[in-house]
Structure formats: C-alpha cells, structure tokens
C-alpha cells in the first residue's frame, strides 16, 4: 500500500513537473535564441548535484537546438583548471561553476564576464532576483557588482542519527556543550565500540582551514576585525583575529572532539566525513546540505531513513550562524558563445526550472524552492535548511584573491593543534602571524 502510494505520489509529481515544463515551453521558445548546431560546454564541480544538472540539459536543447555538455572536476583540480585556462584565454568552456569564495580571485584575474547588465536587461519575472536566499545571493557579487547567478547554494546542517538519539533518549544538540556530551556518549558509553560520536574536517589544508571558518561565528568569534554577521563593510579592516580567545577556544574544542571521532579523524576531509556517516560509523556530522540527498539514498547510504537534521550548534552565549557556500554560475570571459551561455543560465536559474532541478536532487537557492510544498514533501530536511539559510552570513569565509593561501595557512596550524604538535594558543599565534604576512603581501593590510 505504501509502495502504491509512493508510486502515485511520484507519478503526480512527475506529471506536475512535466506540465509545468510544457506550460513554460511556449515562453522559452520565444525567449531563447536559436543555437542549432552549436555545443555549449559547462564546467562544474563533481558534486552530488551533477547528475541532476546533466538530466536537465536535454530540455534546453529542445528549446534552442544547442547541445550541452557538462564536465565535472574535483574541488582543487577545478580551481586549478579554471585559473590556468583563464590565464591562457581559453574558450573551451562557456559556462563556469565557480565557488563563491573564489569570486574575488576570478574577478581580479578577468576570468568571468559580469552578468549585472544582462540581468538588468532581462525580464524581471524570469530572473526573479528577489527570490534568491539573501545569505547565498551575496556570494554571486564582488566589488558591488553582480558577477554570476547564485545557482547552487549550500548551508551546513547538523546531521544526526535519529534512531540512536531516540534510543538513548537524547535530543539533537543545540550547543557545543550538548554536542560534546552526545559525542562522548556515542563514542564511549553506548556499548557499540564501532560507533564514533562526531566527525569534523580536520585534514591539514583547506579542510581544516574551512572548518575553522565554518564554526568561528557560532563559537562567538570572528576571523578578522570588520567581518561579523550583518557587517556593512566586511573587508574594511582585515586585521586578523585568529589568535583571539574565541579562536583559541574553538580550536581547543576541535581538539577535544578528536577522541570522540572515528579512527583517523585527524585526516578527515569532506569525503571521509560523509563516508563515515553513510557507513553508519559515526552518530553526528555537520555537512553541506548538498550531501543530504546522498545520505538519504539507500543505494549509497546505510543510514537512509535513520537520520534527521538540526540547526548548526553554537557556543554558550552565542547564536547559531550556519555556514553558507555553494556554486555560482558564470559566463567565461573568454567564451565565444556568451549569448548562448547567458540564455542557458537564464533558463536554468529561472524559478520553474530551478524547482525541477531541486526535485531532481539539486540544491535549492531560491525562497520559492525552499518553501515549495512538492519540494518540502520530497525532502524532509528543506524546512530546517531554510531556517539555517535565514541565519547564515554571506561573508563567512574570505572571498578575495588571497583566500586559498590564507585558508591553507590556517588549516596547517589548526591541524597542528589538533594532532598535538602545538598548543592551540601557539598554533593560532603562528596562524595569525602567517595570515598577517599573506594579507600584507597581497595588499589587503597596510
């Protein structure tokens, strides 16, 4: 009976999606250009949404005649390839998915063509710019100009094993202290020697560096002087505060969580953390929402149907500031098919297409998607995601040209503290000194 009901629900959703697409078909035929015989190349991250993206492209081909190829790369290789291609004025790709935190670097290097003018000239009803979730929409702009479209927003959620928490009579942690207590319980007291309490990104480099930025605001601190939630000019004073009492306390908290993590957690990055959770080896992880559908897929996960999500926890006396990130869709400045690229972006970012994308497994970036009845019925985590999105801070991580080096230097020292090679205060003093030098060399600090 359940299966029949689910099948009917699925068929109804599919029929609705198809009818929505057909209803829009007439409009799109008039709105989009004829690109028959051309091939549009999209370069993106190899994240779980890539299949949903690929699955959408035949519809665009139907409207315009343009073939669309989508190529995915790992995080670091994508950054390298995009910058190197840009330096060679490579026109191989027309549409680039760029991490919001790379935007300053890409704009400085002249790799992307701003979309502000194209958006201004387009039909406001199609673009629906006010519909984007503000905390992510900000990552599509740099130097006060809209550079790209904020197409794939991620927010951090606390994923926890509801079955285990219910059995233990525990509630999802809302504070760091509750998180530590729950982690200790599952690591040491629940009677399952295979189960760890919590896993975080502690691997040296980007993983540990970004982990710091993800937690610092909810820990009551800030990474540099003028960067705090709601700051009108977050880059006005970049005096680093990586050795502030709040920063050092946060790193001490990370270190305290190591004994409650799975073996080898000191070298965990995104994939290791997700795999440990999906294999049922850890009771809690904080993770980007783009991975949530993967956790709930019985084909890939042993914990499908056994977990729930909660808001990002916070330190006592602080408030939750969930991390925000994700991918903005940009026009390659060196593309020779910019109009076709823009038409693809305009079509893909439209609220109706975006809904189809989200239902196919893509991450929602629009308020209309996060509050859509079909989507919330199909994806139980979306209401909590929307609450997280409301509290997130767009400038959580640095987004200028020295971002990569700064995060790497920070990640080295955070990892040193976590593995016990240096005391947290000593490591963060070194991180602060190294970042001060990087920012001074780059001209961001006088």
């Amino acid at each position: 009976m359940n299966r029949l009901s689910n099948t009917l629900k699925g068929a109804t959703a599919l029929a609705l999606a198809l009818s929505a697409t057909q209803a829009m078909a007439q409009d799109w035929n008039a709105e989009l250009g004829d690109y028959a015989g051309t091939t549009l190349r999209v370069q993106t991250i190899q994240d779980p949404f890539i299949d949903a993206l690929k699955g959408m492209t035949p519809t665009f081909t139907g409207f315009t005649g343009a073939e669309v190829t989508v190529e995915g790369f790992g995080y670091d290789p994508l950054h390298e390839k995009q910058i190197l291609s840009c330096s060679q004025k490579d026109n191989q790709y027309d549409v680039l998915f760029v991490d919001g935190i790379w935007l300053g670097e890409f704009v400085d290097a002249g790799c992307i063509e701003p979309v502000a003018d194209r958006v201004a000239a387009a039909d406001p009803a199609i673009m629906a710019m006010d519909d984007y979730v503000p905390s992510f929409a900000g990552q599509a702009s740099w130097n006060g100009t809209l550079q790209c479209l904020p197409i794939a927003g991620y927010w951090h959620l606390m994923h926890y094993r509801k079955d285990l928490f219910d059995a233990a009579g525990l509630k999802a942690p809302t504070t760091f202290a509750e998180l530590a207590a729950a982690a200790k319980y599952f690591a040491e007291e629940d009677g399952d020697p295979e189960m760890a309490g919590v896993a975080m990104n502690f691997q040296r480099g980007s993983a540990a560096g970004q982990n710091f930025f993800e937690w610092i605001y909810s820990g009551g601190g800030k990474p540099w002087e003028s960067n705090f939630p709601g700051s009108a000019e977050p880059y006005a004073d970049q005096t680093p505060l990586f050795n502030s009492p709040e920063s050092v306390a946060l790193v001490q908290f990370f270190k305290d969580m190591v004994p409650f993590g799975p073996p080898g957690v000191e070298s965990f990055a995104w994939d290791e953390r997700a795999n440990a959770f999906m294999q049922g080896k850890v009771a809690m992880i904080n993770a980007w929402s783009v991975q949530t559908p993967m956790f709930n897929d019985p084909a890939t996960s042993k914990v499908a149907g056994k977990f729930d999500v909660a808001m990002f926890p916070h330190a006592e006396g602080a408030t939750s500031v969930p991390p925000v990130g994700g991918w903005v869709m940009c026009i390659n400045a060196h593309s020779e098919q910019k109009d076709a690229a823009w038409d693809f972006m305009k079509w893909f970012a439209n609220p109706a297409t975006h809904k189809d994308f989200v239902l196919a497994g893509g991450p929602p970036s629009r308020v209309s998607a996060m509050t859509d009845a079909d989507i919330t019925a199909a994806q139980f985590w979306v209401p909590t995601l929307y609450e997280s999105a409301k509290l997130a801070w767009s400038e959580l991580r640095p987004r200028h040209a020295a971002t990569f080096e700064m995060i790497d230097a920070l990640g080295l020292q955070v990892n040193r503290a976590i593995v016990g090679e240096a005391a947290p205060q000593e490591a963060m003093d070194e991180a602060n000194a190294a970042i001060t030098e990087i920012l001074t060399d780059a001209g961001y600090l006088k």
């Binding site: 670091d76 390298e80 190197l84 073996p263 080898g264 000191e266 990569f404 080295l412 090679e421």
Partner: protein, 307 residues
Amino acid sequence: MAQLAASTALAPALRAPADPERRAMLVFIVPAVIYLLLLSVFPFIYSVYLSLHDAKLTQMARKKFVGFENYVDLLTDPLFLKSIQNTAVLTVGSIALEVILAFFCAKVFLSLKENRTGQVMRSMAILPMMITPICVGLIFGYILNPTLGIANYLLSGVGIDGPSWFGDPAWALPTVIAINVWQWTPFMMLLMLAGLVSIPSSLYEAAELEGAKWHHVARWIELPAIRDVILIGIILRVIDNLKLFDIVYVTTRGGRSDATELVTFFTYRQQFQFFKVGYGSAAAVIILLISILVTTIAVKYLRRMQK
C-alpha cells in the same frame, strides 16, 4: 676600420660550411639543438626569470622585479625547510630499503633462474612499477583507511589495533616510504638481477670449493660485481624521489600537519593553488640545483669507482 676587419674575420664562421660532411653533421645536430633550446633551456631560463619577480599568475601584468627576495624568503620559510628535510628522509629511507629488499629478491629470482615458476613470479614482481603512481596512492588510500580499510580490519582480527596510517605524524611519512618502496623495489631488483646474471659461474664454483657461505658470496663476489649497477640504480631513484608527488597528493596532501610535505608538493601548492609563480619558480630552481648537485656527486663517485 676595426669594425670592418672584425666583420671580415667573422664572415667565414657564419657562412655555411663548404665541406659536405660537416654540412651533413649540422643537419643532424641543429634539430636536436633547437629541441633542447625550446624544451629545456628556454623553460629553465624563464623559470629563473620568474623566480626573480613577485608574480601571480592571475595578475601577471602587475609582476615586479624583487631580485633574490624569493630565494631569501624560501630559505627562511619553515615549511619549505621542513619539505627539504622530509624529502631527504623519504629519499634516503626509500632507497636504503629498496636496495636491501631488491638484493634479496634478486637472489631469490637468480636461484630460480629459468625455472617456469621463476619466470611467472618475476613477471608478477614487476607489476607494481607498471601501475600509475596516482592509482597506487588511491589503492593504498583505500587499503589503509583507518575506518573502512582492509588493513586495520585484518589487524583487528589478530588483536592489533591498527594505527591511523596517514593521520598519525609518527606513521604518515613511514607509510608513504613503504608505498614508495613497494612500488619501486622491483625496478632495483631487475637492475641487480641483470648484474647478478652477468657474474661468471666460475666465481661461484671457486667460492663453493673454498666452503664460502651465502653471506661470504654476497659480500665478496656479488656486491662488488654489481656495485656500478647499484649506484646507477641509486642515482635514478634519487632523481625519482626528488620528483615524487602523486602518492602524497592522493593520500596525505602534505599532512598530517607538515609530516609529509615534500618539496614537489610545496612547489605545486605555490604554483597551482596560490598561483604564486615567482615564489614557486624559485622553489623549483632550488629543487633543480639540489638535484644537479646530488646527481653530479653520485656520477663523480661512480667514475672514480670505475677507475
């Protein structure tokens, strides 16, 4: 007047050689010289040029000449110095183990000689060096994963709590060395086997008559006979180890902390993650100088031994 005299003197040298034999020699040499200039000399000179500038790939128009500042910064950069130390430990540790293991393996294969089993085993033994290093890194990354890997699962079966192979600073570099040794011992073994095969059987017969034990044979006959081969193998492996990158890139990314930061990985991060091409080029030039120095010393030593 003096100018005219000079140009008259230079003219024959610039003119095409009349001798057909010399002309033929030039025809063969010039392509090689052009090849060398384009693919070796020019990139090297350009690297040196970049190393004297404060340059970022994303802002090349704004590069500025800084003299030897990048070199001074590098030699006071604790991470670069640590990377040199790690590379030295990796090189010495890997090669020492490879030579010892390869010698014993070569002895085993020598004793099996043309035996069918020996031939099959020899073919199987060289399989590791045929695998792409990036795949080797991935394979061992899965095997040694402390949560999901087979290694710790098997160890737990015999009551041993396996370590965090790449996550423990005491284990990270030794683990990378072990993977490197696993992949390249067959190469050293093949070289030594070729050397051992060429030893005249009369020497073995004489040693047997004298009642020499296996270690006497190894010490007084085999090792002296294959000394040159071993040294050539060491030179090649030193160069290889100075370039080792893939395994670290896949398994540790230079961690835990800075335990496996190698000079190649350091340079890669400067060049391709931070796009600091000036600083990265300076690091590349230093690696090249170290490589030339080590190789020159080894070759001189080899020549002295041959004399």
